[in-house]
């Protein structure tokens, strides 16, 4: 998920540490097992790096594209299942924000919001008689759409602020 250059640096640094640590524990095979055990769980450490470094641009584009695709399918005019897909879209944004940072969550949320609004504008223009709605209904739709932005942004912010890493 990190960019190539950052990943290469991290791998090289960790490899160097493990080699030196293994030597300090008396040798290659047994020493390396102990060095790896002392290093700590890989996924927890990887998460710490992900919190420091933003994902590469391809990851931003991928998450924005997935959010936009879900947003397209979540439009109310598509029927009853659209509500389920909207809920899934919200969960997806929360996941993106917590796992990959508030900026990625925000970018994905903006992609979803823009998609839903453009989709609505297009339908209203191209098929003016197709979409039946009340003013209240349209207002609720817009509010629900705009709510995706804090949904994509705040979980990542809360995680940064309150989740403390245990170093000992």
């Amino acid at each position: 998920m990190l960019s190539g250059g950052v990943r290469k640096d991290i791998v090289q640094e960790v490899r160097g540490h493990l080699e030196e640590s293994a030597r300090s524990y008396g040798g290659r095979r047994r020493g390396m097992r102990k060095a790896i055990a002392e290093f700590g769980p890989a996924n927890a450490i990887a998460r710490q790096y992900r919190e420091i470094y933003e994902p590469g641009i391809q990851i931003f584009i991928t998450f924005a594209a997935v959010a936009a695709a879900l947003a397209l399918r979540s439009h109310p005019f598509l029927g009853a299942t659209s509500s389920i897909i909207f809920a899934f879209l919200a969960l997806f944004l929360v996941f993106a924000s917590i796992e990959f940072g508030k900026r990625l969550g925000l970018v994905a949320a903006i992609a979803a919001v823009v998609t839903r609004l453009l989709q609505t504008g297009y339908i209203l223009q191209a098929y003016p008689d197709y979409l039946e709605y009340s003013n209240t209904g349209m207002a609720l739709f817009i509010v629900a759409t705009l709510l995706l932005i804090p949904i994509g942004y705040f979980p990542g912010t809360l995680r940064e602020r309150f989740f403390q890493r245990d170093m000992f």
């Binding site: 640094e13 290093f39 700590g40 450490i45 420091i52 245990d166 000992f168």
Partner: protein, 112 residues
């Protein structure tokens, strides 16, 4: 809170200061920092090895330290050194730590 809990909380607050202090003396690489922290604290500050490196990267992003790759015996090592901002932060941190330590000692009624 159990003793282990107290220990963890107190260590969290001081480890960044200790890392800056070590790097204030000379540039060092990660394994060296872990070893010196343990030795110079008489075994009190023992970090989980893997957690030091993200902490160093975080400090570098904040501009407190900088890094460079140096090849020694055909092996590349990432050395960290303190920046001007890091030195200023270290001085402030030391002053604050001494202040806090003295105040807490007074409250706890602890004498040397």
């Amino acid at each position: 809170m159990a003793r282990e809990g107290w220990s963890r909380e107190m260590k969290k607050g001081s480890v960044q200061l200790c890392i800056l202090s070590l790097l204030g003396e000379d540039r060092k690489y990660g394994f060296q920092i872990i070893k010196e922290l343990k030795e110079r604290s008489d075994g009190y500050l023992v970090l989980k090895d893997g957690t030091l490196y993200p902490a160093l990267h975080r400090m570098e992003k904040k501009g407190l330290i900088k890094s460079e790759w140096i090849v020694e015996n055909d092996k590349p090592r990432r050395y960290y050194s303190i920046t001007t901002e890091g030195r200023a932060a270290l001085d402030e941190g030391k002053a604050e730590w001494l202040n806090m330590s003295s105040s807490v000692r007074n409250v706890l009624g602890v004498t040397d």
